[in-house]
């Protein structure tokens, strides 16, 4: 069936709730209701998505959208991330009392965009979904309306627009060579072309490079990472958390689907983009980690740290590229499942870290690492949670971070990327220095005052969920690894 709207229910229901929030905002004085409505909206959407888990991969709207486990996996991730961010925003929204309705609605709309993005199988719908999520995020980044936030919003918008242009140019080139917009048809056309035709024609390779650059902006790989520190610093902290997790995950979702569907064959082509990502990965993680060492603002530090983490994630992308596609055993999917598991672990960890930062910075009105001095005494539980998340980001047990690294690096090693894995593990050692510095300041520094740090129950719930997730994934990861493998096995081609 071509127009199976039932399969679009998660997105449609969420969009309805987003519009409902804008309407309610007009008439309701008690803004807390809006939080409840957004959470219900996310839960309803999750419910619809849950009923589809295990579904036979289906293409709808003439192959524009794919409903498969891979997309569903990401949909859960986006919904969960948005839910945690909305809960954690409770301590932050007082900074913009008049626009709370828009704030929640925009978050939901961007989730819709990302959910579509993870499911698209066609050039134009990829672009539309990407813009849907991005434009909401541009607005959200500038939401505080102070100079820094406005700068963040504007910078994000301008650079994002350039990246979109590059992406469109890449799509145009690929379309020009193949004459198709559906990814599967593009793949078929490329495979049908004679080898010499592909080699003599630089347009296709140029197109691939432009596409990698356009998507690279979204996941903030070097050299398209320039916007990250400024935008992360200026944007409202919950939005920073959301950007660093959901937006990045959406970028990876679309890259995996796009490159794996379109450019998997012939082997030399996929090997080439695999190596491209491997080199980018090595540079990205090194730049991210080295620059993070010198940061004194915790949001900027986590910005650079997220660049480094994107580098680790790209080990997964590189693995997908260099894996031989002929044998389709479990080993062939290690890159994908490693990437998915790492994304989940990274999402929980980074959200947890940012949620703790929201609470602490709200009290101290500062994002400087030095002002975290003595937090172990002022807010032991928040400091403990932040410590746990930083330990997970470093990749120490008993947290999700370690298992995720072992899993994604093992995928790399088994597919001949030993050199990249060695660079990656050495990078993990560098990262210990700046992550543990925050831990040190919190537990060893003397507190600036004895005042306790207050936090709302909603924030505490969100923090507890993230930390629990980090621990569960770190100690009994078996089930979740299997889930990630199930998600990539039923991948539409």
């Amino acid at each position: 069936m071509l127009l199976n709207l039932k399969l679009l229910l998660p997105e449609l229901s969420l969009l309805t709730f987003a519009l409902l929030i804008i309407l309610l905002d007009l008439g309701i004085k008690q803004k807390k209701v809006l939080v409840g409505v957004s959470i219900v909206g996310l839960l309803v959407s999750t419910g619809f998505a849950l009923t589809m888990w295990g579904i036979q991969p289906t293409a709808i709207f003439n192959g524009m959208l794919m409903v498969d486990q891979f997309a569903l996996f990401f949909k859960f991730l986006f919904l969960a991330a948005a839910g945690l961010v909305i809960l954690a925003s409770q301590d932050y929204v007082s900074k913009f009392p008049h626009f709370q309705g828009e704030y929640y609605a925009l978050i939901l709309i961007s989730v819709v965009g990302m959910m579509l993005l993870s499911a698209t199988g066609e050039l134009i719908s990829i672009y539309v979904a990407l813009e849907l999520s991005s434009i909401s995020l541009y607005i959200l980044a500038g939401f505080l309306k102070d100079p820094k936030s406005s700068e963040a919003g504007l910078k994000y918008l301008l650079l994002g627009a350039v990246a979109s242009a590059v992406l469109l140019y890449g799509m145009a080139l690929v379309f020009g060579i193949t004459g198709k917009t559906r990814l599967i048809e593009i793949a078929q056309t490329i495979q049908a072309m004679p080898m010499s035709n592909l080699l003599d024609n630089p347009a296709l390779l140029l197109g691939i490079i432009f596409l990698a650059a356009g998507f690279g902006f979204k996941i903030a790989t070097v050299p398209f990472q320039m916007w990250v520190p400024d935008v992360y610093e200026g944007a409202p902290t919950p939005i920073t958390a959301y950007l660093s997790v959901a937006s990045k995950a959406a970028g990876f979702a679309v890259i995996v689907r796009f490159f794996y569907t379109t450019f998997a064959f012939p082997d030399w082509l996929s090997l080439n983009w695999g190596i491209l990502f491997a080199v980018l990965s090595a540079i990205t993680m090194t730049v991210g980690n080295v620059v993070a060492i010198t940061q004194s603002n915790i949001k900027r530090m986590l910005g650079y740290s997220s660049i480094a983490q994107a580098g680790y994630l790209m080990v997964g992308l590189a693995t997908i590229g260099v894996t031989s596609k002929v044998v389709s055993t479990t080993a062939a999917f290690q890159g994908q499942s490693g990437l998915l598991f790492f994304l989940v672990s990274y999402a929980l960890t980074n959200l947890g870290a940012f949620i703790a930062i929201i609470a602490i910075s709200n009290k101290t009105n500062s994002d400087l690492i030095d002002d975290y001095s003595g937090m172990g005494k002022r807010a032991p539980l928040l400091a403990l949670a932040l410590t746990l998340c930083l330990i997970s980001l470093t990749g120490l047990p008993p947290t999700a971070g370690l298992i995720a690294k072992i899993y994604i690096f093992s995928a790399g090693v088994s597919n001949g990327l030993l050199w990249l894995v060695i660079i990656a593990v050495l990078n993990s050692c560098i990262s210990a220095y700046y992550y543990l510095r925050v831990v040190k300041v919190m537990w060893l520094g003397t507190p600036a005052s004895e005042e306790r740090v207050p936090s709302s129950w909603a924030l505490r719930v969100a923090l507890a969920i993230s930390c629990l997730g980090v621990l569960v994934l770190g100690i009994i990861p078996g089930k979740f690894v299997q889930l990630a493998e199930a998600a990539v096995r039923l991948f539409i081609l």
Binding site: P398, I406, L418, I422, V425, C429, Y433, L436, P477, G478
Partner: protein, 495 residues
């Protein structure tokens, strides 16, 4: 399924942690007693396991008290525990020192609740390392140990504690980064993470040279042991750590390195170990002599003991890479013996410092009058360290030297063994000189009224002395067990 003894031993401290963490506003005394209770129970259980360990010849190379549960199925990782003759003594040593470390820390006044939580977590992680038979599990426990060590040194330490703590963490992390790479290459060569299935890997399917895998793993263990020139974290960490942490650090943490070398480097790559044995033996001698020479020059009591550990770990390295059955037994015994001797030495330094507030050899002196018990026990520990017959130090070093001198596997090892024995002479020099400068000579006025050891401290240090004497007089308590663990390794080497 029989009772999971090993899991119980490993996770008893964690139960203690949970109870301490849940108590609302506990008294420091309650925290101490809970920690002592749980570590003592773990020690008792490990003794029970030690006593019921099947020593019959049929059990050579067999793991006992095995537990195996599925953990991360997609990568074949299991929750797989077990002990053999190699790991069992180290497990007993860990629980023994874990209990004594609690006693040593009896007077901790700064944030006692957190302190004991970290100390207990440290014990769990070390026990996990010695009991794991799965590489991922092994790596996990190996890394867990970093977190409590970081906090213990940087909060409760002295001097440049934050610098020393981060130095320790970074050194170990670089080592474990190498180890993780090594483990992954081994895994993808064999498809197995079980230490039992990996023994005697051949180069048939390896996609990088076996020697490269060997050195990736060796690097991690060499940082930990420590092997010259990777040792520079050790004096800093030891000097600035609180006493109990020094006891654990010297007592069992260093042994994780030696244990790893035997369990992984030699067992998995016997051929590579044979090829490079000569160079590693030379490195061991450098370790012995360099460590001993540097020790002579120390004026800080704690730093002195720390450097002496480097020298003594050289004997372990010598015993391991002499690759004969006797030398491997000697090396394992030396690990155990050094654990209790140096543990005691650090405990004694802690006592001297607590009471006299002085650690500098140049300002100490004549303390034997003011603290006779401490002086006697310190001397016993010192004599054990220099290998006086009747102490465990003698038994261990003697067996190691006999083993390496008679080893047929390494060319020209006799010369190196003789050079290594020279280390003992230097050891006698620095130990006696140190005892003389701390305890003998004219009693000094400023130390008048300095108390001797109290009852808890006596209980603690006499337990150490008893263990040193027991093993010194009848080393077969341990060597019988160790032999069972070493024999399969020797068979792989072909000795």
């Amino acid at each position: 399924m029989e009772f999971p003894y090993l899991s119980t031993i490993i996770f008893l401290p964690v139960v203690g942690i949970i109870i301490i963490a849940l108590l609302p506003n506990p008294q420091p005394k309650a925290v101490r007693c809970i920690s002592a209770g749980f570590t003592l129970t773990a020690f008792a259980l490990s003794l029970f396991v030690f006593l019921s360990f099947d020593r019959s010849a049929g059990m050579v190379g067999q793991m006992q008290f095995e537990e195996k549960l599925s953990w991360i199925p997609p990568i074949n990782a299991f929750y797989h525990l077990g002990v053999d003759g190699l790991s069992l003594p180290l497990v007993v040593l860990t629980t023994f020192l874990g209990f004594l470390a609690v006693l040593v820390s009896w007077k901790i006044a700064l944030r006692p609740r957190e302190y004991f939580i970290w100390l207990l977590l440290l014990e769990t992680s070390i026990l996990g390392v010695f009991c794991s038979l799965d590489l991922v599990l092994f790596f996990l426990f190996w890394e867990v140990e970093l977190v409590p060590m970081y906090f213990l040194i940087s909060i409760w330490g002295t001097g440049r504690k934050e610098y020393s703590a981060i130095k320790y963490v970074i050194y170990t992390l670089v080592g474990s980064a190498m180890m993780l790479t090594g483990i992954l290459t081994v895994y993808f060569t064999t498809g197995s993470l079980s230490m039992l299935e990996l023994a005697g890997l051949t180069s048939a399917k390896a996609f990088i040279p076996l020697a490269a895998m060997f050195f990736l793993l060796f690097f991690a263990f060499a940082v930990k042991l420590p092997v010259f020139p990777l040792h520079t974290w050790l004096p800093d960490a030891h000097t600035d750590a609180p006493t109990a942490v020094s006891v654990i650090l010297a007592g069992v943490l260093l042994k994780m390195g030696g244990y790893g070398m035997i369990r992984l480097c030699i067992t998995v790559f016997p051929e590579v170990a044979k090829t490079f044995a000569l160079w590693l033996v030379i490195l061991a001698i450098v370790n012995v002599l360099y460590g001993a020479a540097v020790t002579l020059r120390q004026t800080d009591l704690k730093r002195l003991i720390a450097y002496s550990s480097i020298s003594h770990m050289g004997y372990v390295l010598l015993g391991i890479f002499a690759l004969s059955q006797v030398s491997l037994v000697g090396a394992t015994l030396q690990m155990f013996s050094h654990g209790i001797i140096t543990g005691l030495l650090f405990a004694m330094v802690g006592l001297v410092y607590d009471k006299s507030h002085e650690r500098n050899l140049e300002t100490l002196g004549g303390l034997a009058r003011q603290m006779p018990v401490i002086a006697v026990v310190f001397s016993v520990a010192g004599l054990a360290a220099l290998g006086l017959p009747g102490t465990s130090g003698f038994a261990a070093e003697f067996i190691t030297f006999i083993g390496s001198f008679s080893s047929t596997i390494v060319e020209g090892i006799r010369i190196y063994t003789i050079l290594g024995v020279l280390g003992i002479v230097i050891t006698a020099g620095y130990i006696l000189w140190m005892l003389q400068r701390v305890f003998y000579g004219e009693p000094q006025e400023k130390f008048n009224g300095v108390p001797d050891a109290d009852n808890v401290e006596k209980l603690c240090i006499f337990s150490f002395v008893a263990a040193i004497m027991a093993i010194g007089l009848y080393p077969a308590i341990l060597t019988d067990v160790i032999k069972l663990g070493v024999m399969p390794v020797v068979k792989l080497i072909g000795g």
